[in-house]
Symmetry: C2
């Protein structure tokens, strides 16, 4: 009930605003929205346009059975082909099923319009939870969108797997220790004596990339190792095999001096392993490799991959729980940070200076 | 418009039925469904119960802006962690985005109730397309459910990646040549001289499994090779690495005589490769392996996997197109069968009789 009340807060667009905007009476708007067939097509069109212009949300009571919220948690993410999205969504799905709710997954292909459209649909349906899942380009436009979502969805909106957009936007956040994971991976390589560590990850500007680069830099700084910017390859939008494959090829082509590679995802690592194998560089004897994610296939790569474990399913469950629990921002429960840790397998060897 | 008309066909539950069931007037039901606050909570509860009992779908005109259908195509599948589901859904998503619609993915965990609930929600929302995606246990209960879905959704329902439930259920179907793919894989191994071919796939009773076993049997029959039932391992529900790993371990434990393994998915193949490697059996020198799916990782396995290519994305696009095009059953356009083909890589060698 608290949600219905919060939706009635002052400042909301009302049916009166719609009537004024459309130049018709409130009763006409009411009849138009109720599907009354005595409303002429011209008037209906004017009302519909006003509704769209003002972003008016039809009172849930007029829209469905008794205006109850739709028992649904929406996952809004870039692409369902992303393993991150799949596993987080599976966690949301589990929590949704346990609590008698639907989990619906919407993908945006990274398009702002697809995201705002999906949020709007979920708002119209009065969905109980709306989760924005995965890393994002943290732009002014993005912050404006999130500010708007928070205003209309309140505590039903949770950002999952991305950082808080800042203290001025009271969004609920469930994230994982991305910087800490990258720090652990890099310092493990540094502890093994590696000093020339290449980093292959997604494009700069993405929250996910920037945090992993930050963890890498911090570890280097703590070990007193100067970062060689030429060893940081962060220009692929998609975190796929190709990014790893081409990243290693570029390092080799530029004759870069490196004894280890830390990759932003296990999938990038698998492409990197292929490129290293093709170039005759043995892993881990010649080059050590560390991944990020700990997906199931990581242990079946050749060699089994040392990687950072990320609690994907638990991220999804925690975000779903938060969306349903009506947490208030500033309550101290509005930001959850889940831990990450290194899983050690067979893709790292202590650094040995090779002849020549 | 034809959809709105078909929804008005005789036999549909009407507001009069709801009123009679609830023991109130039609006007009261109307007011209750419109969210009129003068309706007492007791009466509202009676109406709500009658709506649920009779599975009454509130007239779309009373539910949303001008009663337009929600521009959405729903994918209803078992689990988003299935690569099959991910790639088919990506195809649906692409077509949906191109045609200005949402794609929403609902997962059921194989539970009939979750499926019927999701279909019902999509019907209430007047979604433009509802796709049931992936293999299924073809039971009487399943057929009854599909019969019901066809009655309420008509040509908005498309079965995708599973066979027609039979001539008495006029469901639209977009499937791939599953039997043909399994036939191609098995006859490729037979042509290479293999006669003892193990088959590791999902559980009997699933449409996907049964069709792959049928293709395998047909190829053996055409080559005059008697099937040794002990070489068919089809007891895992989930088509994952574990099924392949444990399947090979069982063959080895039972001291089965086999020179090749055909697996129901690339993922099963990757588990089989691990078990063979651990047992010291070299692939392809000692044992040949063929997968099914042609997922991206298949070419990065050791050795790169020969497998059956399945047109996942195109399946999704074709199913989405069919759901939106108002195809009539019996029109000759109500059943699409997409081809599959073998992709030859390095996991098969001609059979050589080994000493002993």
């Amino acid at each position: 009930m608290s949600r219905a009340q919060s939706a009635d807060r002052p400042g909301r667009v009302t049916i009166r605003d719609v009537a004024q905007h459309a130049g018709v009476s409130v009763a006409t708007v009411s009849r138009a929205l109720a599907g009354d067939r005595t409303v002429t097509p011209g008037t209906l069109a004017k009302v519909q346009q006003a509704v769209r212009d003002l972003d008016y949300v039809v009172n849930a009571h007029a829209r469905g059975l008794s205006g109850r919220p739709t028992p649904m948690i929406a996952v809004i993410a870039t692409d369902v082909r992303s393993p991150f999205v799949q596993h987080v969504a599976a966690g949301v799905q589990e929590h949704a099923a346990e609590s008698g709710r639907f989990c619906a997954i919407f993908t945006t292909q990274g398009e702002a319009k697809q995201e705002t459209d999906a949020v709007r649909l979920m708002r119209e349906m009065n969905a109980e939870g709306v989760l924005l899942v995965g890393g994002v380009v943290d732009s002014a436009d993005y912050r404006d969108r999130v500010r708007g979502y928070v205003q209309t969805l309140g505590s039903r909106l949770v950002l999952c797997g991305r950082p808080s957009p800042g203290p001025d936007i009271p969004a609920l956040v469930v994230e994982y220790d991305n910087i800490g994971g990258a720090y652990a991976a890099t310092s493990y390589l540094l502890s093994a004596g590696h000093r020339r560590i290449a980093l292959i990850t997604g494009r700069h500007g993405f929250t996910t990339t920037d945090q992993r680069v930050a963890g890498y830099r911090k570890a280097c700084a703590d070990f007193g190792v100067e970062v060689d910017e030429r060893l940081i390859i962060a220009d692929h939008t998609v975190l796929d095999r190709t990014a790893g494959y081409l990243g290693v090829q570029r390092l080799l082509r530029e004759d870069a001096d490196f004894s280890a590679v830390f990759t932003g995802t296990d999938t990038i690592a698998s492409g990197a392993l292929t490129a290293l194998r093709e170039a005759g560089r043995r892993v881990p004897d010649d080059v050590s490799v560390v991944g990020f994610d700990d997906l199931a296939f990581a242990q079946e790569l050749t060699p089994p991959l040392t990687t950072v474990h990320l609690p994907h399913e638990e991220l999804g469950r925690a975000a779903a729980r938060m969306a349903l629990s009506n947490v208030q921002t500033g309550s101290g429960r509005d930001h959850v940070l889940l831990g990450t840790h290194l899983v050690i397998r067979d893709s790292v060897r202590p650094y040995v200076r090779t002849a020549g």
